[in-house]
């Protein structure tokens, strides 16, 4: 695999770009692997990458029923932040955000990480108190955030109407090192690095069963036959319950659609990420100029990857009051992803009732920002059987009643 560099571009420019190699290999499945990861989205590929990089485990297959990064990795609004209230959440999300900072250099693949800053608007007195509390908690956790007033908000984001009659902006929780990245590039960059280490990424290979013997996993049944493994990692987001069912256990998870949409491209007008949790809306501007808008989740379980129209309507209606200039924008595309929501809105990175089987799910509406940190921690959990970053996110927290309660702490949007 050739390294990308300015010299490589110059060399290829001289020979009509005929020397670029494929980004990742497309191998035939082997009979057995040491580790199988189900799901070649961001989290699955990051897990495989850190298994190889941090623990030297490279006899790994990442199995994907569709195409690489075609699930929620390609369907999110690319917000990266770590301003969470609870200590375990702040720890894993901050680890993730800090890994994002050098990810392009590390993977030799431009993930276009842009630490442009993210503000979460306080539009009610309740949110004012909540975000001030979060700002204090963040300073104790070593996560740099601050609570800012409407004047500063107006400076950072001039297109915002802070005096709206219905949704006035009273303040905001500001994280200057938060931002966004190119979602596909994160998956592609990890895939390229995994492929370079000799791992197999098996696309269009659907897992249809999990085989076990004496309480331990022995492999998976796929649409391309049985593949053996010593350890299994399930990293399938919205379909976590479906795969868990194959292994014979239930999860405390419900799957619902979450929608997003983008506008036609316009000139640069907004260089920060804004989240408005009272109205379930968040917006940023992509490098192409499109306004990227995310909404709230649907109210009922579904696997439809589209969602209900009235949720979009509510999101856009509220955002237009906060950003009057977007009222005449045409919307280009709209889509939905299936998110796996837990009762306490915190992820599950855990051993499972089936031996040598691990699960990474429950990221709900906020998985993209967590990709590097989740992969880092889950790889450690799979390799060593424990990880300080995942200690509080076990499945046993539901029977113990030891929740990491972000549903109240972080507001609704993730």
């Amino acid at each position: 695999m050739k390294r990308f560099s300015v010299f490589a571009i110059a060399r290829e420019a001289m020979r009509q770009h005929s020397g670029w190699s494929r980004t990742w290999a497309n191998p035939q499945p082997k009979k057995s692997y040491e580790v199988i990861i189900i799901g070649a989205g961001g989290h699955g590929l990051a897990t495989a990458y850190y298994l190889g990089k941090n623990f030297g485990i490279t006899n790994v297959a990442v199995i994907e029923k569709g195409w690489l990064g075609g699930g929620n990795t390609g369907r999110n609004t690319t917000i990266i932040r770590s301003n969470y209230l609870q200590d375990p959440s702040a720890a894993i999300y901050e680890k993730s955000r800090s890994l994002y900072e050098n990810l392009s250099q590390e993977l030799n693949y431009n993930v276009m990480f842009s630490p442009r800053g993210c503000m979460m608007l306080a539009q009610t007195q309740h949110e004012m108190r909540g975000y001030k509390r979060t700002a204090h908690a963040n300073s104790l956790q070593g996560v740099k955030t601050e609570f800012i007033d409407p004047e500063r908000i107006k400076q950072l984001c001039p297109i915002m109407n802070v005096d709206g009659p219905r949704y006035p902006v009273l303040g905001a929780l500001w994280q200057s090192r938060a931002g966004s990245a190119r979602h596909d590039a994160v998956a592609w960059g990890y895939a390229r690095a995994c492929s370079e280490m000799g791992m197999h990424i098996l696309q269009k290979t659907e897992v249809i069963g999990v085989t076990q013997e004496a309480g331990n996993v022995t492999g998976v049944e796929t649409s391309h036959g049985h593949i053996e493994c010593k350890k299994l990692g399930m990293v399938v987001a919205g379909h976590a319950s479906v795969v868990a069912e194959m292994a014979g256990f239930h999860l405390p998870i419900e799957s619902v659609p979450l929608q997003a949409l983008v506008s036609e491209p316009i000139k640069p007008c907004m260089d920060v990420v804004v989240m408005a949790n009272t109205v379930h809306g968040y917006m940023s501007q992509s490098d192409k100029g499109e306004m990227v808008i995310g909404g709230g989740t649907d109210g009922y379980n579904a696997y439809t990857q589209r969602g209900s129209f009235h949720h979009l309507e509510e999101t856009v209606r509220a955002l237009i009051e906060t950003f009057p200039m977007i009222s005449r924008l045409k919307m280009l595309r709209h889509w939905g992803g299936i998110v796996d929501v837990t009762g306490d809105r915190s992820p599950i990175l855990s051993k499972t009732p089936l031996g040598q089987t691990f699960i990474n799910c429950g990221w709900g509406t906020g998985g993209f920002k967590a990709i590097p940190g989740s992969g880092w921690a889950f790889a450690e959990l799979m390799a060593k059987g424990e990880s300080p970053l995942t200690a509080e996110f076990g499945l046993d927290r539901f029977s113990a009643g030891r929740f990491v309660d972000e549903s109240v702490a972080a507001g609704v949007a993730h």
Partner: protein, 109 residues
């Protein structure tokens, strides 16, 4: 938009007039039960990709709770029925069997 018929009002309602209440027919485990049963009652969800029995409330109508059998992948509704029951009535089971032969869901089939 998802449309459901409230079995009490008898009126077709769209989802904005209703509130979803999650999985139906969950067996309640109270004091004296094992931790595992209690956890399964509180948090364990089938969350299937396909047939799902669920609770809804006619929140901007009669206010009553009712049950629905629905496919979570196609949003096809197999029928709605009153909530005062421990398992789906025979007509709902038949309506599902007509479209999804050989279905099963937890203890029902």
């Amino acid at each position: 938009m998802l449309m459901l018929n409230c079995p009490y009002c008898g009126i077709n309602k769209d989802e904005t007039e209703l509130s979803a209440g999650g999985e139906a027919h969950i067996k309640r485990f109270g004091p004296g039960s094992s931790d595992q049963d209690f956890e399964e009652y509180l948090f364990g969800r089938a969350n299937p990709k396909g047939l799902h029995f669920e609770r809804w409330r006619c929140s901007s109508g009669c206010g009553k709770w009712f049950h629905a059998a629905r496919c979570t992948l196609t949003l096809e509704v197999f029928g709605t029925y009153e909530a005062q029951t421990l398992e789906p009535p025979q007509r709902i089971k038949e309506s599902i069997t007509a479209k999804r032969p050989g279905w099963s869901w937890r203890a029902f089939s």
